[in-house]
């Protein structure tokens, strides 16, 4: 079972746990309608598009409203700590929430007790929390962008806003392989990395395993949610049973293809890209 956890930017949304389904332009969880296009909702939408296409179970989600104070985030951490053994996901994808290092440690300790252990994916501030708490190596997949791989490589940084300036400035397509190595050396990386950018780098502790740079759709970098969709697709593909490296390569390619088919512009909405995911897999990708 694929389990996705993260916040929704609505202060009034209670903690929700359950199967997600699509209802028009919205996601529906426990009779609550959630806009499908922002942050964790974009990730869920992309995962759902793919689970529908693959004809596997839809994701189960744990969501709570949070506009930045962290109350909803805390509810999700606490629910996970309490219930994750009972839920026993095969893939657990953690996403937008307040990076609370103490609660992340508590959750990680619970996750270590699971047998079989779930594939652990972290993106957004879940990735920040895992790295800052010194737990990165215990995760299976991180999906950083260029600024975030610099953060993972900086052994002292607790948030991307406070990374070493020179490391940030030196991070470009040509230096990504070196910075990936630095992240592994400093225990800031998960078992697999997908570094998103003009070229997408898939790597493990031995270095770069694959580079995906076609089709080139530079406008995708402007669109809020294009990283979230990669993480959502990757989570769904791993839940389907693909090995992690293959899932990461396919997700990176599918995202670019969806952007191309949607003729993405810097003003496009992520929903336009997500809508193209099924046809991209139908017409362009073989799984």
């Amino acid at each position: 079972m694929l389990l996705i956890a993260g916040i929704i930017p609505r202060a009034d949304l209670p903690l929700l746990e359950g199967r997600v389904e699509r209802k028009g332009q919205f996601l529906n969880v426990q009779l609550h309608e959630i806009p499908s296009g922002q942050g964790t909702a974009a990730m869920i939408s992309a995962a759902l598009a793919l689970t529908e296409y693959l004809e596997i179970d839809p994701p189960r989600v744990i969501l709570a409203g949070d506009t930045g104070r962290g109350e909803g985030s805390r509810k999700i951490y606490e629910y996970l700590v309490d219930k994750v053994a009972e839920l026993s996901p095969s893939v657990l994808a953690l996403h937008y929430w307040m990076p609370n290092l103490e609660l992340m440690h508590q959750l990680y300790e619970k996750l270590q007790l699971l047998d079989p252990a779930p594939v652990l994916i972290a993106d957004a501030a879940s990735m920040y929390a895992a790295k800052a708490a010194g737990l990165a190596a215990g995760f299976d997949v991180f999906t950083p962008d260029l600024s975030e791989i610099a953060f993972l490589a900086d052994p002292e940084a607790v948030h991307p806003a406070y990374i070493d300036k020179h490391l940030f400035q030196s991070c470009d397509r040509s230096t990504v392989p070196d910075i990936i190595n630095m992240a592994y050396k400093n225990n800031g990386a998960a078992r697999y990395l997908l570094v998103k950018g003009k070229s997408d780098f898939i790597a493990d502790k031995n270095g770069v395993l694959a580079v995906v740079d076609e089709p080139d759709v530079p406008e995708l970098e402007c669109i809020g949610g294009t990283g979230d969709t990669i993480t959502g697709m990757c989570a769904a593909l791993i839940a389907k049973g693909l090995d992690i490296k293959q899932a990461l390569i396919l997700s990176a390619r599918a995202n670019r293809l969806a952007g191309m088919v949607a003729t993405a512009t810097p003003a496009s909405r992520i929903e336009e890209v997500i809508a193209r995911i099924p046809e991209v897999f139908q017409n362009h990708l073989d799984i």
């Binding site: 930017p9 930045g68 962290g70 991307p160």
Partner: protein
């Protein structure tokens, strides 16, 4: 399933190393100001405590308020009623990233500040997208900014709570500079 034997070797870090991770210090000129500030921050609902700053970070008096660094902008708002020297992380770079990068896509300009990106249309100054970041106020700020003109939006540092909001604010500031100078930086 995938961790196998490696899993048992993983360390969750020593208690000592865990203790200060993710923390920052608010530094003060006087002990009285530090005590007053700690009360204000706690009353506003943020985790904090009075501590002795390590010698290398000490500026002013020998008492500081320890905070969760990610909440820096929200706590700085609370401390507008107080007087403090600065906020500094307990580890890593002591300075917030202040690098602005600009990318052009025809009539659109994307401004990147650290991990946050904001794209606006020229010459209208309308924000057409924000992306990047990971803290819980970022999806909320995206909704607040989308489709609005750069000079008609609330500042992310005024309505956000986290370091991602602070970086988005820097992107807004950079975008405003470009837009108000007719596209030149």
């Amino acid at each position: 399933m995938f961790w196998g034997k490696e899993k048992t070797k993983r360390s969750s870090g020593s208690d000592k190393s865990k203790k200060h991770k993710g923390k920052g210090l608010v530094l003060f000129d006087s002990v009285e100001e530090a005590i007053r500030a700690e009360r204000l921050v706690a009353k506003a609902g943020y985790a904090c405590s009075l501590v002795a700053p390590p010698p290398q970070l000490r500026k002013g008096c020998d008492v500081a308020v320890e905070i969760d660094l990610v909440e820096q902008p929200a706590i700085e708002r609370v401390l507008e009623q107080a007087s403090y020297v600065e906020v500094t992380p307990l580890s890593g770079s002591g300075k917030l990233l202040d690098i602005i990068q600009i990318f052009r896509y025809g009539n659109y300009t994307m401004v990147r500040a650290g991990n946050m990106k904001l794209t606006f249309e020229e010459p209208s100054g309308i924000i057409v997208n924000t992306s990047g970041g990971g803290c819980p106020d970022i999806p909320y700020l995206h909704i607040e900014l989308m489709g609005k003109r750069l000079d008609e939006i609330p500042r992310p540092k005024d309505i956000g709570h986290t370091l991602c909001a602070l970086m988005l604010d820097r992107a807004v500031e950079g975008a405003r500079d470009i837009w108000m100078n007719g596209g030149e930086k």
